[in-house]
């Protein structure tokens, strides 16, 4: 199944509109290219609706948001919804400032997202802030473990039910779920957190995968998460004694570029979470 997801990205080469932060934007563009899609970065209010219209999918990342780009995110998101384009939200650092929290909640309010991807703290902040967790125990820990995974899945599925979006929570164990189905993924390497922007890159990758597989959003998101994690593993085996986080960054993107659908299929370590 994952095999097909990656094949479709390579074959269809969807054009992805990214409104993203200036810290990791170059890596995001190169990751989109590495998986076989094409990136466009544009964030001016005057052009985002038109740019989104010529694209297949939209990726919104609030990493270095400002008043100018927040407005652009809203315009682009609404246009994408109107055109039924898949839209990803990466709520970078939500909870770290009122501006981030309010912006993320406003985006949730006004835009229908296909996928929301963040770490557990970001997703918790969003879910609590948006008041969607009533009746759900949101006092889950800030780390997903084998012990608390079912609890986190229940929480994420409740959030998925309220938002209509697939929820992707990434960390040592990654979770991908919609309201009905949930997968736990164990690909990846701890050293990925020593590179800036692996999360941003995954969001851009996810936008590429779901845009090429619009009828299989859950599987496409799962495939994107496995691709990123597997690339992190493959890149890690390549590190020499002198390599550090900068070379690792390059090797991960390289690994995505070289990954075959078969490698993804064989290397993906995921399983459905069953209750």
């Amino acid at each position: 199944m994952l095999e097909e997801m990656l094949k479709n990205v390579r074959e269809k080469s969807p054009l992805i509109h990214n409104i993203t932060n200036y810290v990791t934007v170059n890596d995001c563009a190169n990751v989109v290219l590495a998986c076989g899609a094409s990136p466009i970065m544009a964030d001016d209010q005057e052009e985002v609706a038109e740019i989104t219209s010529i694209c297949t999918g939209l990726n919104i990342n609030i990493g270095t948001l400002n008043s100018r780009t927040i407005e652009s995110m809203l315009i682009a998101g609404k246009k994408a919804n109107e055109l039924h384009h898949p839209v990803v939200l990466d709520p970078v650092g939500v909870g770290a400032s009122t501006l981030r929290t309010q912006t993320a909640l406003k985006l949730l309010d006004e835009i229908q997202f296909s996928v929301i991807r963040g770490n557990i703290s970001e997703i918790k902040t969003l879910a609590l802030g948006s008041g969607t967790t009533k009746g759900v125990d949101a006092n889950i820990a800030d780390k997903v473990t084998k012990e608390n995974i079912k609890e986190v899945v229940r929480f994420a599925q409740e959030f998925s039910r309220k938002t209509g979006a697939i929820i992707a929570i990434t960390g040592a164990i990654d979770l991908v779920c919609n309201k009905e189905k949930a997968f736990a993924i164990e690909n990846g390497h701890a050293m990925m957190s020593s590179i800036t922007g692996t999360g941003c890159q995954l969001s851009a990758l996810t936008a590429s995968f779901i845009s090429a597989n619009p009828a299989h959003l859950l599987e496409a998101t799962l495939a994107a998460v496995c691709t990123m994690g597997l690339a992190g593993e493959m890149a890690h085996t390549r590190l020499t004694r002198l390599d550090g986080n900068a070379s690792y960054r390059n090797y991960i993107i390289d690994a995505i570029y070289n990954m075959t659908p078969q490698q993804l299929q064989e290397g993906a370590k995921y399983q459905e979470v069953l209750f």
Copy 2:
């Protein structure tokens, strides 16, 4: 001839003012350094005239334009014209939005460019939008081939006549021409299109070359295009089985850094297009 062009960049180390996009700006700065010139990036309206004044050349790239930076481009371009500094235009994505098209046309209207560099679609959009192609068959294909090259050259030379700028059209076959003379270049590698920003990098490189060779703008542009393509070839021979687009990006800049004038002279694959 090309030998001299690169030698002059290394000897004079011209300071290049870049108003460019935030996606590929770091690569542009490192490419300018790799060829022997020095970069300054500055885009605030309050300072661009002064910054341009202390530089030797200006590179304007509309990749992530916004209302603030568009104004800065106009101010800097006019100041550069006043000081007779060479100016490059990279009309990234022109045609993808009204804002891009109108901005590029306004820039063309108000600034005298020394070189306009883009892919064939961008140059066509510009030429048609600026109404300069009357009487010229602009229904050329979106790809330059051995079959249609003379047609594309006629079109580009007409655009050069109207704008007074050297036109550089890059793709599988690159074209560099002024109204009188045209060169076709066959350096480069298809994999370069899997890296974000090789076009932006070439524009920054072109600004460096023409600034160091103000009396030989056509040859300097040709040298920049050959340098970029040859670097793409040399870097490609260096790729291992595990390398992908991220390592390739680094290797291309490395190859420019290490390229000797003699290597450029010997590796450049260009010929004049004669009618």
Copy 3:
């Protein structure tokens, strides 16, 4: 001593707020991670005070300043002062435009900096512009040499006295001083100047080191300068015949990632400047 400084960065992993330019921001983030600290980049006026409040230190870099971000720098700097967080100023290109000079002087006026890091020209411009050098011979050369080093130290110490900040002047020979003590550092490699942003990276590194060692600001700054220079040396030994400035950039960050406190202690080449 330097050993401890690096150990503390790794153990405490301070969160560093960076308001910096979009050219080298990704490298700054990866360098902060490489040394063991954590970066946040945020520059909107609405959130910088809150972001600075959750961080341990602040790094202000005026490389691509604009009216929006200048205001953010002032807000964040004042908040950091209020909270007694260490603050670094990197006055990139001060003197190249009135906007840069006036902004840097305004920042100096309104914010108490812990460390000001720049090249000799930048520091001279700042010192002269701020009128702090009265009675001091500021006609020092634009290069620090073994011959003029005492003269430069006297000048830098006078500036330190006026600003209350540690002054770090980097070049072939680096200087780090407060009003009482001065160190000359001979780590580094000339090729570092062929990479964009090694100065910016050092400022981000300095913010990381002083935030983890608040009781030893001078030693922490010295340690950061030695770390950057030593990484430049170690990375240089790793270069192959085909590597250029792009690979060198990666290798330097890699070297910081892999540097042990003991390596720093043994590789640091500094001595106190005594009168």
